[in-house]
């Protein structure tokens, strides 16, 4: 039974690949799955595949890391101090829906054409979900925990570290997971301003290159697979005992 449960998702992916193959076979332009695999092999053979993957992962790590470093403290402050919430929330809600693509000209003006521009765009995209979730997480910490802590005269930084942060952590992690997903999602758009590297660059360059749609789809597949692996890794965080208490169901 367990074996079959594991087989179901593989079966779904298999059906989709067969459907793709059938749909793409008569097309002159749409690549079939085997052409995409050959494209990936070709890129790997030239040694550029690892280069693109590393470049994208590097930019995402930098942008996302910076977003966490700023968003968690800011979100915590906004969740705890009503004045901070009133001050920053309108600006955050105003900037949140703006696509990173719209920021490209400004990124070039501020950061030039270097790794800093795509990093900035990735930072922007992952910053907001983390701020919003952290704010909500801290804001919604149950009053009983706070009262209990007060009764035991826990205060200052220790109060934040031992009560607020652990209580809000499950939601902060949800924000981190969403943030990482979005960071990886915008890698294609962000790398429109990248120099000669990155999976987003690979897709844009292959679109420009005559009819290399096999490489366009190869880039899409690799982004999908890495995104899936990153999400699996983030899910591991949700399994920590520090977080599990919040969930109603068992794994």
């Amino acid at each position: 039974m367990r074996f079959f449960r594991r087989l179901v998702p593989v079966f779904v992916v298999g059906i989709l690949i067969v459907a793709w193959w059938v749909a793409a076979r008569p097309s002159k332009i749409l690549p079939t799955p085997e052409k995409v695999i050959l494209g990936i092999v070709e890129l790997a053979g030239q040694g550029v595949l690892a280069q693109h993957v590393i470049a994208s992962l590097f930019r995402v790590t930098m942008g996302y890391g910076l977003a966490l470093a700023l968003a968690i403290p800011l979100g915590s402050a906004m969740g705890w101090f009503p004045a901070a919430f009133r001050a920053f929330n309108p600006v955050i809600q105003l900037l949140r829906p703006i696509s990173p693509i719209a920021w490209i000209p400004i990124a070039i003006l501020w950061f030039g054409v270097s790794d800093a521009s795509p990093t900035f765009l990735i930072f922007l995209s992952s910053f907001f979900p983390v701020v919003v979730e952290t704010t909500a997480g801290v804001h919604l910490v149950e009053r009983q925990y706070i009262r209990a802590a007060r009764n035991f005269e826990v205060g200052g930084f220790r109060f934040f570290r031992q009560v607020i942060f652990p209580a809000a952590l499950p939601q902060i992690i949800t924000g981190m997971r969403v943030g990482l997903g979005v960071a990886w999602l915008v890698v294609v758009a962000a790398e429109m301003v990248a120099i000669n590297s990155g999976l987003g660059y690979l897709i844009i360059d292959s679109r420009n290159a005559g009819t290399r749609y096999d490489l366009v789809v190869a880039g899409m597949v690799i982004i999908g697979v890495i995104g899936y692996l990153l999400d699996l890794a983030m899910r591991q965080l949700e399994d920590l005992d520090e977080v599990r208490w919040r969930y109603s169901y068992d794994r």
């Binding site: 003006l109 950061f111 005559g210």
Partner: protein
């Protein structure tokens, strides 16, 4: 990039032609502007666009890959520039050794222009860092010193020049007067189903080119037409700058196809690695419409303002 779609009508922006009032031209034609080459190419491949102004190497490559694309006329000649900051010390391309030069994409003809200058001035591949930036973002990149120079088609060169912080280092008209960039490419379906329509289209495009280069007032009139929201949606003053400073910055008077020029472009494309193998001229060109060209009268108001 001025492009057409549907049944197709001459591209009013770069040619000044107008199908209105000519009973021979089907009135089903529709003009559609695309703001990126890949999108336009994909629409052409899908057959949604039957005629388009495509980059010459792109059209060659499509024909080679079995997409029924045929070049029937040029879109313009010359019209690429290399811009640098006004106060910079660069006087020749060789001065840019070790610097960053922006190009629209490595598949753009502007890239071939840069490579040709590098070769002429003894620079090796890698002596300049080529950075791919969308042309509309290039003026800002130069202003921010993110790049030391940029190579692009108009009006994105004139933009920084008009705004006062950049100057022209090279114009194709000075160093490569037969430069070909955009070519009128027609889907073979359209050639087979409506050859007389394609002939009317080519007649209008070529005639409009003559009309444009015939008098400065025509160029001003064309700039005004092209500045329209539905066509280029660029400031009239900017397009006027391109048309008039100098008047042969971009030329339209001779839009005939020349085998030698295409062979030269093919050689440069092969050398740059953007086309994998030589493609015979006959594969991507249909010059029958050009040979049967008949001048038509272009009736547009002259701009006296």
């Amino acid at each position: 990039m001025g492009i057409q779609s549907g049944g197709t009508a001459p591209d009013g922006s770069s040619t000044g032609a107008n199908s209105q009032g000519n009973p021979k031209v089907p009135q089903t034609a529709q003009f559609v502007r695309y703001s990126g080459w890949p999108e336009l190419k994909e629409s052409f491949i899908a057959g949604q666009v039957k005629a388009a102004m495509l980059l010459a190497p792109m059209a060659m490559d499509l024909a080679d890959k079995g997409i029924p694309a045929r070049i029937v006329a040029l879109g313009h000649r010359s019209g690429a520039v290399i811009m640098v900051r006004k106060e910079s010390a660069y006087r020749t391309f060789a001065d840019l050794k070790g610097k960053r030069v922006a190009i629209p994409s490595r598949f753009a003809v502007d890239h071939l222009f840069v490579r040709r200058l590098m070769k002429e001035q003894g620079l090796q591949t890698g002596d300049v860092t080529l950075v791919e930036i969308a042309p509309p973002d290039m003026p800002a990149a130069l202003l921010a010193n993110a790049v030391d120079a940029y190579a692009t088609g108009e009006p994105f060169g004139a933009k920084s020049e008009m705004d006062g912080y950049a100057r022209i280092l090279y114009m194709t008209r000075d160093v490569w007067p037969t430069y070909i960039c955009c070519v009128l490419t027609v889907h073979e379906d359209l050639i087979k189903s409506k050859p007389q329509f394609v002939q009317v289209l080519v007649n209008h495009v070529l005639s409009a080119g003559h009309w444009l280069d015939h008098s400065p007032s025509h160029r001003t009139a064309a700039a005004r037409i092209a500045s329209d929201k539905a066509i280029f949606n660029q400031a009239f003053e900017l397009l006027r700058w391109v048309m008039e400073r100098p008047s042969d910055r971009v030329t339209y008077g001779d839009l005939r196809l020349m085998r030698d020029e295409f062979n030269q472009l093919m050689g440069l494309s092969l050398d740059a690695g953007i086309i994998p193998h030589p493609i015979p001229y006959e594969t991507y060109v249909d010059d029958s419409f050009m040979r049967n060209f008949r001048m038509v009268n272009i009736n547009l108001e002259e701009d006296t303002r």
